[in-house]
Symmetry: C2
Subunit: 351 residues, 2 copies
């Protein structure tokens, strides 16, 4: 059973995967050779190669775990957390730990063997977003879970592993990750002083300046953040204030699919198909809704968004240990390159 | 002039290197081909290939910027911060920024073309530690600086670049990095409750348990931390409570050199010469010494140490964005491997 352990100095939780015992030499020799396409477990027609599906969209019908789907969510075959068991929060001397309880799901973004979601049709991307929102809403029903990480690793450097089939992942956790807590604290502090959302204010300022904005649609802004850690780092931000991705409206989700298609396509064209990661930043589960003034009230002050990072630069020693980064390219330059790299794609219906 | 910019949500400072303009294609094609040894600017006899030295140890005499040194510190030829100019703290709308003022120095750890410090003699490592302590003490005299990062990148993956000559780096900053602040807050909170140092308590518990201890000398303990983010992550911790590395005593520095030799040698043997990073965690400059009860009083509560991370695993998307890590190997297993991998090296005189 994996363990969740807490760093006693800075309070960061870590999954320690106690059962995946490795010898040191396994790390030294490990290379991610791509799996041949005919062995891909995520292609249509090979549904038996994965655990039984949790969710699938079959607009033209068809039975579970067979062909005919557009998007399919399955349990991870190598889950980092276990769904069954007691959380068993406890101390070990001065340390805090709990059982590694959670869920780990793979969201397969299309039936064809396409590696980069940049090459999927907007409607296909839209189906993937729809499935992600549905899975997050469903995972919230489990009372042991406090947060779900929805993220994507594309390319070997970004941690995609051996299978070159577009997919994202969902990891439901019994804790709120450190970085999410920091964002909640930062936006809460701002709200207490201003009675306004920090990221709403930031959006107004960025749209006025324009220098870091990559594109804007009816419902979203894609921009390179002012204090970007990495070249071509991007935030995809909804214009409408909402703390929770699951509150997204159908017209916003369609719009977001087009934004993803544009942004991923422009990164691919501008940076020669770079590896990348993205991660949803959204409000935790189990918050106490509507209790204004309570420290857990985050409806007004948090603003969900997606953080996207192409993996172009090496991360050096002091960046790991200090939380302090060097970015060799100003976000204003990155945004300019991406503004000029528009990709042909069907416009969202409402623009 | 580079800029220091602050993330408005979580307060993290980033260096934006505005002058190193790159085209996107430079990131896509960049590879670090090793420089031929005869072109190494850090070898004895090629002193003219670096900027003029800041410090050099020449136990047998000899003139500045000539041969005969054991350790040599020079300014970086590609500094990420500039030493001259006003800090010019200012706002830009809701954002905070300042000029990229600081120092960036390279500490060459020996005159011979040896890549991994694991292959240096203990006395050579000791000379490097001595030079690091001297440079940190000197940099503290500059009133614009608040912290110095002393770190090492070994191996291409860890950011060592093209030159395969053992060296560490010093970056003096006009701010305290986020992670250091978090450690100060965490240890301060513990001290306020217990009136004891968190890391002193941790050392007692770890030495009693023994399962995560790799080695122990008269003055130091090397251990794999309870909530390790990475396999074979290590902390090198002084047994004597001190918040500040510069307070290190001569006998401790000699001991630490032996600990480094052991730890780096054991990692090399166990993990087939892995890339690694280490970083000193020490108290900031300009603290208000002796004012007990003041929030900046960290003499009692902070405990300097060195964090060392072999770069074995890919860091995936959600780890970047969430501050939440998955470690595939328990620190107890890692410590056991490293305990059993003792390296032949002269014992410190006092053991």
């Amino acid at each position: 059973m994996p363990e969740l352990r807490k760093d006693p100095v800075i309070g960061r939780w870590v999954i320690i995967a106690t059962e995946r015992a490795k010898r040191p030499v396994d790390f030294a020799t490990e290379r991610d050779q791509p799996l041949p396409p005919q062995e891909c477990p995520f292609c249509e027609g090979r549904e038996g190669a994965t655990p039984k599906e949790i969710l699938a969209l079959r607009p033209n019908g068809g039975g579970a775990n067979g062909a005919g789907w557009t998007v399919r969510v399955v349990p991870s075959i190598k889950p980092v957390l276990r769904i069954e068991g007691e959380i068993n929060r406890r101390a070990k001397g001065m340390y805090d730990l709990m059982a590694g309880i959670g869920a780990h799901e793979i969201l397969v973004e299309g039936p064809k063997h396409v590696a980069n979601a940049a090459d999927l049709a907007v409607e296909q991307i839209h189906a993937g977003l729809h499935a992600a929102a549905a899975r997050i809403a469903d995972l919230e029903r489990e009372p042991r879970f406090r947060y779900v990480l929805w993220f994507k690793n594309y390319g070997e450097v970004a941690g995609a592993g051996r299978i070159q089939h577009a997919r994202s992942q969902l990891i439901a956790l019994p804790i709120v990750p450190k970085r999410v807590k920091e964002e909640l604290v930062g936006t809460r502090r701002y709200f207490e002083e201003k009675e306004r959302c920090l990221l709403c204010d930031l959006l107004i300022q960025e749209r006025e300046a324009g220098t870091r904005v990559v594109l804007e649609t009816a419902h979203f802004v894609a921009l390179c953040p002012f204090a970007s850690r990495f070249p071509f780092e991007l935030w995809l931000m909804p214009k409408r204030h909402a703390c929770d991705f699951r509150a997204v409206r159908p017209e916003e989700l369609r719009d977001l699919a087009w934004v993803f298609k544009q942004v991923l396509g422009r990164l691919k064209a501008t940076l020669n198909d770079p590896p990348y990661n993205y991660l949803l930043h959204t409000a935790p589960f189990r918050r106490q809704r509507g209790r204004v003034g309570h420290w857990r009230t985050i409806e007004e002050d948090f603003h969900w968004h997606i953080e996207l990072i192409p993996r172009l630069t090496r991360v050096a020693g002091f960046e790991w240990g200090s939380g302090f980064y060097i970015n060799p390219m100003p976000p204003e330059d990155c945004a300019k390159y991406l503004r000029e790299a528009a990709v042909a794609a069907a416009e969202p219906a409402h623009v």
